[in-house]
Amino acid sequence: MRHTLPRLVDAVLLLWLVATLTFLLIRLAPGDPASLLVSPTASVEQIAAQRAVFGLDGSLLEQYGRWLGALLRGDLGTSLALSRPVSSVIAEALPLSLLLGGVSLALSVIAGVGVGGWQARRVGATSDTIATVITTALYAAPSFWLALALLVIATSGPAVFGAPAWMRLPAFGVHTPAATLSGWPAIVDVARHAVLPVLVLTLTGAAAIARYARSAIAEAWRAPHVRAAVARGLPSRALRRRYVVRNAIAPIVVLVGLALPGVVAGSVFVEQVFAWPGLGRTMLQAIASRDYPVVLGLTVLYASVVIAANLVADVVVQSLDPRRRSA
């Protein structure tokens, strides 16, 4: 634990650097949100007034100082396009992204480690090769295309095969439009809307984890001390839990740590295809309307999650693996 404090300082410095670089990146880009959001007949003075309202007046350094000062007070500013605090825009979209991302990450880890572990026991067998082909194909497939392919299957499939109507899954949004459901039916409604996006995210996520888990677990099985334990006649359950999992778990934790930011970033593509109003879709809309404060706020949020996830993964790995409790 005594190595955690300097790393925390590093993390804060890194976050500041990300915020500064993002600010520069966005503010040096051509284009002006003020002229986008006033009427096309507005005079130069009106545009200038609009810039002042948006806090886009003054030198870049002044603007940076203002933005950073507000950021330190926890104020992310006001959305230019929506005229609402950025924090409330994020607070509205975040739970929806967490719902999709959290459920699919949990399912990905279970399915990925399960498939990878199953393959690791039969490396080179036909069943292993078939599983590798499937996971490689899923890993290679872009999520937006997989989403569209599943959409075709889920919406026209049941109709073609004469399945009952309730099997046709909704493909857009979070709720059935204009439905006034409450209590249990409302939860079922949201869950039905979430099935397809969660399925896409789980398939791609599980494929990536399975590819990695397979080699990590196979390597753990090949270790001399595991072979010695096999020779001693240890029952395979104890073998797996006490010898194999303990060695294979560290790289898998690192992998999950790297996957976490994707969860919060909200799958941009999947949210876009399924019209799921999470963070990813918010980001796309903010970029399209040059909504600087929202883009900046979301980028800083992503970066802090990535940095925090790396930090947590490191600490967890250190507690799992005594060799990494550094010298």
């Binding site: 410095l13 890194l14 976050l15 650097l17 990300v18 670089l21 993002t22 990146l25 966005i26 880009a29 051509p30 284009g31 490689t136 194909a137 890993y139 290679a140 497939a141 872009p142 999520s143 937006f144 295309w145 569209l148 392919a149 959409l151 075709v152 919406t155 026209s156 791609t204 996520g205 990536a208 590819r211 990695y212 397979r214 080699s215 390597e219 690192v254 992998l255 790297l258 996957a259 930011p261 994707g262 970033a265 909200g266 799958s267 941009v268 593509f269 876009q272 990813g280 980001m283 796309l284 970029i287 399209a288 040059r290 883009v295 979301l298 980028t299 992503y302 970066a303 990535v306 940095i307």
Partner: protein
Amino acid sequence: MITPPRDARVRAGLLLLGVLIAGAVVGPWIAPGDPVSINDVMGTRLKPPFATGERGAIHVLGTDAFGRDVLGRVWIAARLSLAVGVAGSLLAGALGVLLGALGGWLGGVVDRVLLAIGDAMLAVPRLVLLLVIAALWGPGLPTVVTVLALTGWMGVARLVRADVLGVRIQPYVEAATALGVPSSRLLVRHVLPNALGAAVVAITLGVGNAILLESGLSFLGLGIQPPAPSWGNMIAGGREWLLIAPWIALAPGIALVLTVIACTLIGDGLTRGGPASVDERARS
């Protein structure tokens, strides 16, 4: 003579990639009709796969909403997508080699600044960076290649930096220094050639990644702009016909999947025994 690669995955990947490149080269010539311009729309649009078109030509993958042969467009898009993937990954690799070598060789402040910038850029999901830059600087082919290069150098830079640090303490480098070889020549002639192994593998792996990212940007309308076909914008264009003519969106996706599988197989074979390092691909 070039000896054939021993690893079965590399062989399979190269074979698959070869077929795709051959298709990209000859495919557009064989395809019936002009795959880019719009012809007799009402008579030829939305034909299913294997339908017969004008003058008995067969549309193997059907036609799209403007009566253009889908397979022909897939092959034209292959030219763009493959070129963008290779160019993006190579440029990113070149930038990574340059910055990694500079950092590792010069050390000190330069090294620390480069490391910090790299870390900061790795802390933002690559897709977010790509989206922001592509959208703000205006989409299009040059933007796509540039942003792929600007957001993809960090991994290669880390590898090259580590290798340069390892090589520079080798006895032969010391010997060359003692003989009075100037520093720049020492780096380029003696250190770099021995510090590129891992970087070459990373650049190869990056091609599939770059192709996926390009398709994603084009799908969102921030990459290659229609009417120039790219797999990503073809999928986006087929989206509104998804339930009537699913082949329009599905066909370019299959080409995309096959290409990325080929790159993944080659990469897996080169790193041996499966994915050796977790890549920061745009899974989000």
